[in-house]
């Protein structure tokens, strides 16, 4: 039986939004913006502060470099997975347990491209974008990953 591979067409016209902000965001609002008649799939990743016994988390960025890198990742993902829209919002500043940290919403014609694109963006963000998290405990603090 012949199977067809999904078409990961370049999508230069993808709608994108990239933000690094101290403000909280509403995932549902972004999901609504990502919906379109060209997209049959919207995939969302929402990262939140896990309760690992910490009192709070502090998020810091090199904003100009982080925005430029997110922009590159966004374009790479849109091209590679044929996404119709990409929304990335990363919080900065002091966050409490349960707070939103990062939101990635992508839309595509089909689920495979949308899941692939969302996962690609998250992994690239975690390895390339100059953003750092510090965990503050009652008895101390540590920069994540160092």
């Amino acid at each position: 039986m012949e199977t067809r591979s999904p078409s990961f067409r370049p999508c230069p016209g993808a709608e994108t939004l990239i933000e690094i902000t101290e403000d909280d965001f509403c995932p549902q609002e972004i999901i609504e913006r990502a919906k379109s008649t060209a997209a049959g799939a919207v995939v969302t990743f929402l990262g939140t502060v896990r309760d690992d016994g910490l009192r709070e988390m502090v998020v810091e960025a090199y904003p100009e470099a982080a925005l430029a890198e997110l922009d590159k990742i966004c374009n790479e993902a849109a091209d590679r997975f044929g996404l119709t829209s990409v929304y990335i919002i990363h919080r900065l500043g002091r966050l409490a347990v349960g707070d939103n940290i990062v939101l990635i919403v992508v839309s595509a014609a089909h689920r495979r491209e949308a899941f692939g694109g969302c996962s690609f963006i998250l992994e690239e963000l975690k390895s390339r974008v100059p953003i750092w998290k510090k965990e503050i405990f009652d008895g101390g603090e540590r920069w994540v990953g160092t």
Partner: protein, 91 residues
């Protein structure tokens, strides 16, 4: 020439978020780091190993582009912005 240094995360806590160093013309990235190390003993011990080599976890950018270890002898220019930071951990 004046070089702007921006430090982030643990290195910001040692060096401050932004400082400007006045270096001789055509100083290299390595010479900039040596100047930072002589200004700040804590940065020196955290960023360099005992033989004076920059530790692997110290990451650098020049004018917002990543610098690899082969570029340490690259000459800087007046007004360059060099960033120093540990591995990223966003997301």
């Amino acid at each position: 020439m004046k070089i702007k240094v921006r430090a982030f995360a643990s290195f910001r806590e040692m060096l401050g978020s932004e400082l400007e160093l006045d270096l001789p013309d055509e100083s290299s990235v390595q010479e900039l780091l040596d100047a930072l190390a002589s200004l700040n003993p804590r940065f020196c011990s955290e960023a360099f190993d005992r033989s004076g080599l920059l530790k692997d976890y110290v990451l650098l950018m020049k004018n917002r582009k990543r610098l690899d270890r082969d570029s340490m002898n690259q000459a800087l220019e007046d007004g360059d912005e060099v960033a120093v930071f540990p591995p990223v951990s966003g997301g």
